[in-house]
Symmetry: C2
Subunit: 385 residues, 2 copies
Amino acid sequence: MMHRPLTLAEAQARLDSLARPPVAEAVPLAAAVGRVLAANLHAPGPLPPADRALVDGWALRADDTVGASAYSPLFAQALAVGAAVLPGTAAPLSAGDPLPPGADAVLPLHLVQEAGGMLELLGPVAPGQHVERAGQDCAAGSVLIPGGRRLRSMDTALAAAMGLDRLQATRQPRIRLVPIGRGGGVDLAGRLYPDLITRDGGVADPVADRAADPRQALTAPGADLILLVGGTSPGAPRGAVLLRELGRLDWHGLALDPGEAAGAGLVGDTPAILLPGGPAAGWSAYEMLAGRLIRRLAGLPPGLPHPVMPVPLAVKLVGEVGATRLVPVRLSPQGAVPLPPCPGLAQLVRADGFVLVPPHVEGWPAGTEVAVRLFDCFGTRDADH
Amino acid sequence: MMHRPLTLAEAQARLDSLARPPVAEAVPLAAAVGRVLAANLHAPGPLPPADRALVDGWALRADDTVGASAYSPLFAQALAVGAAVLPGTAAPLSAGDPLPPGADAVLPLHLVQEAGGMLELLGPVAPGQHVERAGQDCAAGSVLIPGGRRLRSMDTALAAAMGLDRLQATRQPRIRLVPIGRGGGVDLAGRLYPDLITRDGGVADPVADRAADPRQALTAPGADLILLVGGTSPGAPRGAVLLRELGRLDWHGLALDPGEAAGAGLVGDTPAILLPGGPAAGWSAYEMLAGRLIRRLAGLPPGLPHPVMPVPLAVKLVGEVGATRLVPVRLSPQGAVPLPPCPGLAQLVRADGFVLVPPHVEGWPAGTEVAVRLFDCFGTRDADH
């Protein structure tokens, strides 16, 4: 049944060919954070539209500050916000406020001492200092937010400031999780995978009922990708049997450790991936196959999304050649420590990330710098600030 | 009104002293991802509880495989899942399944060829090979998940596998956003800050109505931290006036660029921070003051949460001494490119992250390696896999 297992590169290439290009849809700003911007967003006009203050302070005429210092301050009359500035006067403003008429510079807060309606000017500014000229930030039509970006809250705030109420984002692929068979990994269908699917830009359908006949969940319309979780056991490969029955089994068996029992095919024209029921094997196959396809469908770069940190190995990493290996590692002051293989989640939970060992590599000696793919975004944080 | 501005370190020390230690609460697993584990979670028993398979394959007696190879396979009779293994037989199993009685090793899938009820064994295994011994993964009582960790979906899956239905997490601090005054940054109260508060382990109350009298939002009970957004303008510092009226203004004016108009105090015994109304200044003050306090209240490390990447400067970075500066940078193939100062969001949206310039540093020449704090978790991704 399982002859030569596919290499990971072969399996990825076959899945890549099944990915349809993402389509765009309008998304309200409140729901846009985390979505993928479908195309470059251009500035509708110059930014800023008019000269404005770069800092909090007092708008005035630079001439009025010539010679001012903390030891010999000059004086100006305090105006109200927005008032036109005449010689000998200054109007308060915040960074980003338009420069009031008559002013040509901004004196920052720390160079001004207020005393009633009079201001002590404690230093000089040159004409144009602390002022952002109209159009300086960006010209009309220039790219404000690059297409393909996972939108940040900052981006939606800028879009709101530009008067937009929605952005064009890629449609999120709908991923259907169908647990079949038995095994601890099948419980992951409800806990681990929905979170990873969100990370990869997809939306997980409610997990199909394990007790029900999986045929209905497999054939119901609306899914962009089906993940069959479990049912890959040798001797009782229910997932493979179901794919053959309802669609097509393209391949079964992969040179991936853990994750050898993975497979893939089609139900109708919907791609389907067999994730092994063992927790570590299922996770590994998700990361190397399913996540990649979901990112493609979502318009994200298909490569692994983990932040990569180069770290020397604290001890040697050994193993067998033949399969791509995902080896969980802990970070220690001495470097990355490979954790022993484990079919369950305990070592993955203890790990800070993992190392990919190519199929032709048996291992590496201690001290070799390896690329650790971190589980946590913020694992690279430093403690200085 | 504003005399010598506080240094950032002084302001942070004052806020640190206001942080109460976090308290723990039980959280259902389904709501636990992203929460902060309050204390170490220990294994209730040895893991695994019994010998189990490390890989998908066939459980058998290692003796039956001595001398097997692809060129001269040996044979065994295929049993059903879980059946007791006798000499000359093998039972299928998945990684993580308990070893059936009689078996002492697992032959991986790629070394087995199925043909009807008979198996061709294509290679040898040693006794114990591909088997995880009881207790090998971890001893009873050892730490499974370290306290203080931001829980991952993997952690909740492991907890579920251990029969737990909730975990002890720190209570999330409630952050009240009160927009006052005018300015583009005040719009950020609804868009940018709730997202950052979530990142930092807090929960944002619904943003107070800008049109209403802010006194009610400031004095209503239940907040662990109040953020007054805007109203820091020189000449019309409504935020400072409100703090003096309703509680205490501890300081106003900070050697932070942007963010000079920040301040802090108390309303009752609730800390309150004044975030400038300018978008970039408000963001900067949030990052350096508010985020830090929220992370402390949530039981997270207080330092900046951004992943840090050392990158050489592509061009020189110049400026003035005196204030800690947050300089947005873009990453280019030549290194980090500092972006010009901008009171609005356009440069921050264009940036990949920012560099902190200490107050005593005027700048750095091109080629200097600087610590870039990245906005995106996944900005360090590589394209190889």
